[in-house]
Symmetry: C2
């Protein structure tokens, strides 16, 4: 089987959310699976000197409009959360912990947790910067809350996020969503058509 598509994202990224609802369909049409890579862009922005998109004059207003328009264009449920953007350390750590067989988890459970957290934030307006809310979302996915609560305080689990962010920066990843197809990088929800063309044609 061909390599999975690497999908890097931040849980507070609306374009990451939009793409997360579409990437598995794109991948499966081409016999691929998705390898989910949660990162925290705040840490990446220290390298690139960037600031959150929506805080930039003019560009932020355009982005706010464009995100809603893109959701309509692709029939994706979306609302701008009341608290936005937010810190996503707890959400990212939860997913990285789920992904790690080292902690006795089944990595297959991660994809559904990614969707559940994104949906909680961008559909149900649940503030996922609050660890208690992340744990509640996990509980609804059948994850044991005591085990997760302990894991989020575990130094090794904390280390998973630092390692993931460092590895992403090392690969040149600076935004969300950021997609690698056999190492070929595509940045942005609006590049899914290019990802499709690349998968179909083998490159351009």
């Amino acid at each position: 089987m061909a390599q999975p598509i690497d999908f890097y994202f931040d849980f507070t990224s609306p374009y990451g959310y939009l793409a997360s609802t579409r990437i598995e369909e794109v991948a499966s049409r081409h016999g691929r699976s998705v390898n989910w890579h949660p990162i925290v862009l705040g840490f990446v922005f220290k390298v690139t000197g960037s600031v959150p998109l929506v805080s930039i004059p003019l560009k932020g207003e355009y982005a706010t409009m464009d995100i809603e328009r893109s959701a309509r264009q692709h029939n994706i449920p979306y609302r701008l959360p009341d608290n936005f953007p937010v810190g996503t350390v707890a959400a990212a750590r939860t997913c990285l912990w789920l992904k790690s067989a080292d902690f006795g988890n089944d990595p297959e459970t991660m994809a559904s947790m990614v969707h559940a957290l994104y949906r909680a934030y961008f559909v149900d307006n649940i503030d996922i910067s609050d660890t208690a809310n992340v744990i509640a979302v996990a509980a609804a996915q059948g994850i044991d809350t005591d085990t997760l609560s302990s894991a989020l305080e575990n130094t090794e689990v904390k280390g998973l996020l630092k390692t993931a962010v460092d590895a992403a920066v090392e690969k040149g990843i600076f935004g969300s969503p950021f997609i690698l197809v056999d190492g070929e990088p595509f940045w942005g929800h609006d590049r899914l058509k290019d990802v499709e063309q690349w998968l179909e044609t083998g490159g351009f």
Copy 2:
């Protein structure tokens, strides 16, 4: 006839160049013409606090690669100019002067000048920050060089660019290319497919 498509661009913008080679075909398929709006992003960036794309760590390296890849994808001749990015005041003023019937010019001549300047810079590696080179490109388009040389020193012509940039910022334009379809904004070469869909469907 339907309103022209407004196409805002900076002559040092590679994505602006790529889109400039495709926008007229997109427009004409839908019975539209193109209204060319040269701006100078350096002035706009003072409002948005932005910096040139290619100077941003990681993002700049991605963009350099992505521009070349996008040119290949759409079979557009392209090379990164030796001097890049450059100031585009003389190029923009030349086009705004050509566009202005106030100076006795035929606005129709502007489109071919836009293409000639972009081609000079991104195909023939001619440094269009040098006014003499802009005048040479104009001469090859049949424009009288003495008249143009005088025009570029004319206070009213200089005022055209300031007015154009202010008007662009007023409309929320912060990048290149930036396209308005009946006022609906689309930022980026990678949004031409969305422009097409908007023109076909009347909105989403």
